[in-house]
Amino acid sequence: MALAQQVQLHREPGARGDLARRVTGSPALQLVGRRLLTAIPVLLGVTFLTFVVMNLIPGNPAQLILGINASPGAIAKLDTQLGLNHPFWDRYWLWLDGLLHGNLGTAYSNQQSVNSDIAQFLPTTCYLLLYALVVSLGLGVIVAVLSARRPNGIVDRIGLAISMLGLSVAPYALALVLIYVFSVRLGWFPTISNSLGSNPLTAIRALTLPAASIGFPLFAVYTRLLRADIVEQMQREDYIVTAKAKGVGPWKVLVKHATRNSLFTLITLVALNLGTLIGAVAIIEPIFSLPGIGAELITAIGDNDLPLIEGIVVVFALVTVAGNLLADLLYTVLDPRIRYGRAAS
């Protein structure tokens, strides 16, 4: 398919500019375009599914907002105001129309715009995830490289044991144990943190325990993957033998050749798993009373606040889809074999 296009492009020189041909003919860009197109049905499906599920919940939102004693007139008025008197498909269409115009609607619970609600809560979550990702990736790479230097050596055994622990621990249980040890017993970190404040140091202190609860399982996954990949590279790949044979030192082979190659796999995995981090955020943030989007989702679900839930779900779905796209992109950019292999098929 792609090949046929390229052939066609070659047949009509001058029809498009040289640059344009190079851009549209680029296999990587074609792949991105294809993935972007497939992302649209995924996003539609996710939002629609949420809409259906939330509409299954019995009870009228207007009634929920106004309380049990509200008069039928007031409820009918609010129904009209919220657009609840429209049939299901019209409501979904209206909401979708708003989404395309960048407007996620008004939250039922506090009558604020969902956009501003999300804008208020998103930064905390971003800082938290960034902190967790950076630390777990950094430590993961270090431990994996040290472990892979001597497979089945003492460092490797300890590393494997630690990562097995991280793989098996429940984040919420870990969070509570960390709170008990580091906040209650040692008093190093605050137990709860309603706001991050403006001082970066207090923010880091407030985010350390939640980031550790999310990051430790991540660290375990990253370490295991990277270690296995480096060990395999060191044992199987010809370029390692070449590097060793031409007299490159063992550390340099390990770090500059094998690890550099394996990091690509790791980065792709990180991008792919961006979406799954959201579940962790929704559970960890409420434990620490962090004002993030995960805690907000739990509150919104408790309040039956459909527009807010939909808005947060869209953000989550966007992150997941963007992560998948990023993974594909990284694959093609970092590994030319895949770039040309896929484009030819």
């Binding site: 497939t38 049905p41 995924v42 996003l43 499906g45 996710v46 599914l49 949420t50 599920v53 939330m54 299954l56 919940i57 019995p58 097995m164 622990l165 793989l167 098996s168 621990v169 429940a170 984040p171 919420y172 249980a173 870990l174 509570l176 144990v177 709170i179 008990y180 209650v184 979406g275 959201i278 579940g279 929704a282 559970i283 409420p286 434990i287 989702l297 739990i298 679900i301 039956n304 839930i309 779900v313 989550f316 779905a317 997941t320 889809v321 998948n324």
Partner: protein, 300 residues
């Protein structure tokens, strides 16, 4: 290689069978034993846990897991009659662990089974037939993976009365797409192997190729993945209970135990620690067993 031979013959007695490099026989024996241990220790722990949860309550009378006497409230561990102590409501913690464990086992096994059956069929179909079938099924799987299933679990808890069955279906939204992806991936790998082409060229029907040639090669990967999957689902199920949306109190569950312990964390950390450690041991045994089987069957 030939140049090294004289050196090797100096260190290894010529009568011995050729061993890989300089590994001694004793060391090989130890490695063999260690491999057995890696398989049987986690398997033994799992069997013990299963025994404690499902057989012990019928062999040996244990106190009820949902009610207790206020006279026995907040007993420390190793109290007479309550060897793990009691919670602030006087419920025996060991009994709570046993009954909560039953629920965890049942739900995680059921969710995994649903994932294997439905996800397996989706993955096999998508991977084997390819083309537009693959495209459509893969998009459906993508939607399910991008969909925050927590919303669904919650909605289910609101619409229907929260129960084990409903929780199983809601949690399957996690397991079905995961198994579908894994099965599709390994089906794609197997499909390109020469013996499949040979079978197809010799006129074997699609059904026979799928059941006789592809399935046996895909199943080991699915089994090891399902062991890891059960661990993830146990943690997830605990998270749902922890948020108070799954198994409803007073029916005991590990997640709810941890959530209850959160309130008295400062004074009595054992209410969080005991269920957390049991959860950790359970999930870790599953992971270790999965690793050992993967090593044994040579699947990645």
């Amino acid at each position: 290689m030939a140049a090294q031979l004289p050196d090797l013959s100096a260190t290894i007695a010529p009568a011995k069978p050729p061993l890989p490099s300089l590994v001694s026989a004793r060391r090989l024996q130890w490695q063999k034993a260690a491999r057995q241990l890696r398989l049987w220790v986690p398997a033994g722990i799992l069997i013990l846990l299963l025994f404690l949860c499902f057989v012990w309550p019928y062999v040996y009378t244990i106190p009820p897991g949902d009610t207790g006497s206020i006279l026995n409230a907040s007993l420390p561990p190793f109290s007479p009659g309550h060897w793990l102590g009691t919670d602030p409501n006087g419920v025996d913690i060991f009994a709570e662990l046993v009954y909560g464990g039953q629920v965890s086992f049942e739900i995680s096994l059921a969710v995994t089974a649903v994932g294997i059956v439905i996800g397996g069929v989706i993955g096999l179909t998508a991977g084997y037939f390819g083309g537009w079938v693959d495209s459509v099924l893969s998009r459906v799987v993508d939607v399910l993976i991008a969909f925050p299933a927590l919303v669904l679990v919650l909605a289910v808890a609101e619409v229907l009365q929260p129960s084990e069955t409903h929780l199983i279906w809601a949690l399957s939204v996690f397991s079905v797409p995961a198994f579908a992806r894994v099965t599709r991936g390994s089906t794609l790998t197997v499909r390109t192997l020469p013996f499949i082409t040979a079978a197809r060229l010799s006129g074997t029907s699609n059904r026979k190729i799928i059941f006789k040639h592809i399935m046996p090669n895909v199943i080991p990967g699915i089994v090891t993945f399902s062991l890891l999957g059960i661990g993830v689902i146990v943690i997830l199920e605990g998270a749902v209970d922890f948020l108070g949306l799954g198994i409803q109190v007073p029916q005991p569950s590990w997640g709810a135990m941890i959530a209850k312990g959160q309130n008295v964390l400062t004074a009595q950390p054992q209410y969080v620690l005991i269920p957390s450690i049991v959860l950790l041991i359970f999930v870790m045994s599953l992971n270790l067993l999965g690793d050992a089987l993967r090593e044994r069957w040579g699947v990645r």
